[in-house]
Amino acid sequence: MSVVVFLEHHEGELQKGSLGILAKAGQLGGEVAGVVLGSGVEELAAGAGRYGASTVYVADDAKLEAPLPQPRVDVLAQLVEEKGIETVLFAQSILSADLAAGLAARLDAGLNWQLVDIATQDGAVVGKQSALGDSVLVDVGWTSTPRLALFRAGIADPVETGGTATVEKLDVTFQEHSLAAEMLEQAHEESSGPSIEDADFIVAGGRGLGAPEGFGMIEELAKALGGAVAATRAVVDAGWYPYSAQVGQTGKNVSPVLYVACGISGAIQHKVGMQGSKVIVAINKDPNAPIFEFADLGIVGDVQTIVPKLTELVRARKG
């Protein structure tokens, strides 16, 4: 069985998420190839050998410089067809999701997402999908090849095998519509101040704070606990709080001893970034909010009244 893992890279480094999928792919038995697409990436590609790729396909082209999905669909479609690739695996990311779905349409290939595992059962490839807000595990299959799969962020760690890979260059031809979108700007925001990744205590705020000013009381509580402030994508996108504080699939992964979620619904993409927290406390006025399904303690109530009072009590307790 021929398996290829899409290896995403950023600022000259292969991403941990896709290297993890390379390790996961190894468990299917047989050889695993990687594919690296970009501009000036040949050397980077060879590095994937150390993480278990026996072959790495590379397309090196200035048109692949920006991390946009559509030109990559062209290259992967050619690769799959020419080499008769049966399985293509992706680690979840903004780029990978768009690329995988574009490729699915191009090749009329099945795409299963939110996978937490994959295995061969009685000769068939079966994916484990965590669905409906993690309330059910679904065994999913593919009715034809190629099979495409998107894995949930952080489900597998890279494994150093110390091997070397044969690098094979790909010719690329692009479709007109694939080159029509253009990256005008890429801003990489770095955090100032202490990183939430190292904090033992985190107080996080979401859209339930009602307004950017709501973060005032979140900061107070964080200070009282001796911790840091985190935020959801919804409020970061809305400009209520800086990007560097964002937790989740498109933000940081945190695992403090205490995570206090205030006015956060607990969407999967947020959960994947904070479910490693030792203790989770949630305050949300909606009793059906998904966050209550994985919070150790959930209080159904209003952040506006509970948070300031909690800050006072913590302060009093600490003396």
Partner: protein, 259 residues
């Protein structure tokens, strides 16, 4: 500007979602509502239409006939008309089949801009737009948290794992918006009254010229094999705040030796 907005009816947020163990499909028998974040795409479309001073906002959806109930909410917000692809043979369509059907419907419309919400609350996919864009052979911008339409192009700012991207695409284009892009308006009473009278077309596969084999289970390339319970979670406690919520939290933190 003619803007098409892809919207979906999903099980109401208050209902417990389940997959029917018999059909292995999502149980859609309960109450349905407009996929919450699709209202953001509708809102954005209305704003662009109104700013351009002319044009039309067309809703495009695939689903059972009762999905019209949910489309009406978007019509009440101000969308001009709705097109629902509905056919028993289309039930159970996966990404490949759904994107093929929607692309066919969208081709008929030939909109300048095709908008999507950021994700369907029942599929958690956040992928459909990319498949539709490929079928329509149109440029794509996904996850846009800000959007401007100017000079025959659309520019979107979006968040990624590393910061922000600004992407521009010439029209016609496909754009998926993030839910932070705007605050969807509430339909006015007049809007609600008027919605019923707006044009609502229901198209079958035959109407679209699609062979039944391209849709539903036969048109799909993925399948559900089995269902099982997720691994057990640790113990969770949920309490109603009766005025002592803060105290309860502190007691808990003390018990866990965290303060």
């Amino acid at each position: 500007m003619k803007i098409a907005v892809c919207v979906k009816q999903v099980p109401d947020a208050a209902a417990t979602k389940r997959i029917d163990p018999g059909t292995k499909r999502l149980d859609r028998s309960g109450e349905g509502s407009l996929n919450p974040v699709d209202a953001n795409a509708v809102e954005e479309a209305l704003r662009i239409r109104d700013a351009s001073g002319e044009g039309e906002v067309v809703l495009v959806s695939l689903g059972p006939e009762k999905a019209l109930d949910s489309l009406r909410k978007a019509l009440a917000m101000g969308a001009d008309r709705a097109l629902l692809v509905s056919d028993p043979d289309a039930a159970g369509s996966d990404l490949v089949a759904t994107s093929a059907l929607l692309a066919k419907a969208l081709e008929r419309e030939g909109a300048d801009l095709v908008l999507f919400g950021q994700q369907a609350s029942d599929s958690d996919g956040a992928v459909l737009w990319a498949a539709v864009a490929d079928r329509l052979r149109l440029p794509l911008i996904s996850q846009a948290a800000e959007l401007t339409v100017e000079g025959g192009a659309v520019t979107g700012k979006r968040q990624t794992e590393f910061g922000y991207d600004v992407i521009r695409a010439p029209l016609p284009a496909v754009v998926a918006v993030a839910d932070s892009i705007n605050e969807p308006r509430y339909p006015s009473l007049k809007g609600i009254m008027g919605a019923k009278k707006k044009q609502q077309d229901v198209l079958s596969l035959a109407d679209l010229g699609i062979e039944p084999e391209r849709a539903g289970t036969t048109g799909s390339r993925t399948e559900v094999l089995a269902l099982s319970d997720p691994p057990p979670r640790g113990e969770t406690r949920k309490l109603e705040d009766d005025g002592t919520g803060a105290e309860k939290i502190v007691e808990f933190l003390v018990e866990k030796r965290l303060v």
